[in-house]
Symmetry: C2
Subunit: 217 residues, 2 copies
């Protein structure tokens, strides 16, 4: 049973230091921002000396990498749990994505920021999780777009929610109206683009969308 952490432990060994470090790191992250994520600050919160962390992580960056992997996994979970409304799947996925970013602003910045080299180099685990998120969103488009348009449409959607999420996190959007409504309208605008923009290079005129779930290339 993992020790409750943060309380003064009685045993010399902690018992679950690795997870305790990650938990404390996440607290520091959301409380004070990615640039204050210091190894000594983290260890201090856990009540342990700084070098102890090196028995569980090879470097400070590795702790940040651990957080980034957590974040990537949670993002994929959020997207997978989004209600797959067939008529407005783009809207629901987009809103789920934005909701995650707004619920974990500092974590999202860490995931896509430059502050931690280990994170920027995209570990294999992160790459896999990111691909999973991307595939989930793309699957939502698959029912309504010809396969030839999927790569561009997926990239379009990803870039939009990525940029919109970061603008929100950075408080760049100062409009005083209802933020939820603004987000919904931007995503709706994107949806009409996807719906009306299909006539590019698919010569067929009334193409039934290919329903069978062949994973995209």
């Amino acid at each position: 049973m993992p020790r409750p952490a943060k309380k003064p432990r009685k045993s010399y060994h902690h018992g679950d230091l690795r997870n305790a470090l990650l938990t404390a790191a996440r607290e520091v992250l959301e409380e004070r921002g990615p640039s204050f994520l210091g190894l000594r600050e983290i260890s201090r919160r856990v009540g342990v000396s700084a070098p102890s962390a090196y028995h569980h992580f090879p470097s400070r960056d590795a702790i940040a990498l651990g957080l980034a992997e957590q974040g990537a996994a949670e993002l994929a979970t959020c997207l997978a749990a989004a209600p797959a409304n067939p008529s407005g799947s783009l809207l629901t996925y987009g809103e789920a994505y934005i909701a995650f970013v707004r619920a974990n602003p500092a974590l999202y910045r860490l995931m896509f920021g430059e502050g931690f080299p280990a994170v920027s180099q995209h570990s294999a685990a992160i790459r896999a999780l990111r691909e999973r998120s991307y595939d989930i969103m793309k699957a939502g488009l698959e029912q309504r777009l010809p396969a030839s348009e999927l790569p561009i449409a997926g990239l379009f959607l990803w870039a939009l929610v990525h940029g919109l999420g970061l603008l929100l996190v950075d408080r760049q959007i100062v409009r005083d109206g209802d933020l939820e409504d603004i987000i919904r309208r931007v995503l709706t605008l994107a949806g009409t683009g996807l719906l009306h923009g299909r006539g590019r290079d698919d010569g067929q005129s009334g193409p039934p969308p290919p329903p069978p779930g062949t994973r995209s290339a």
Copy 2:
């Protein structure tokens, strides 16, 4: 006349240290990335002792802020110089924006990253320059959209190029095709959305999905 910088100067006084520091800082930035932008490293390149910088900048963050202001000004200039092709203004503005990001990747990350508190707080100068860039892009939309749609359309466009630029800088887009073409197709897709999305038809407003609070599942 500014001293050539980087060569061992003979006079005790440098003469144009402030600009020399900014120039060296920009070199460090693009060579090694924002997280390696150290005050001592910068001073070393100029051939001057570290505390000298404090006569020209109140802190290390202030140097980064100076770079961010430079970047904001250059971005606005790039957008203003974009050929105002009336039929595809969105494409040209979007491409100009992306071109700037790709030409100054580290600078763009510094401008919108979290590594430097002074930068994240958006100085008045940066706010003004950013607004100018935004207005330039919005002006490109003005000729083709009703005024009521402008705020959302502008935000949509900004979020898209912001996200797309950051994805490019982060090397998240690994598709092996022609990158220029991919960018063009994404922007074109966005353009069709703007053109066809003016009559807002959001009849379906489903139940808002529960925001995933996701604190330590």
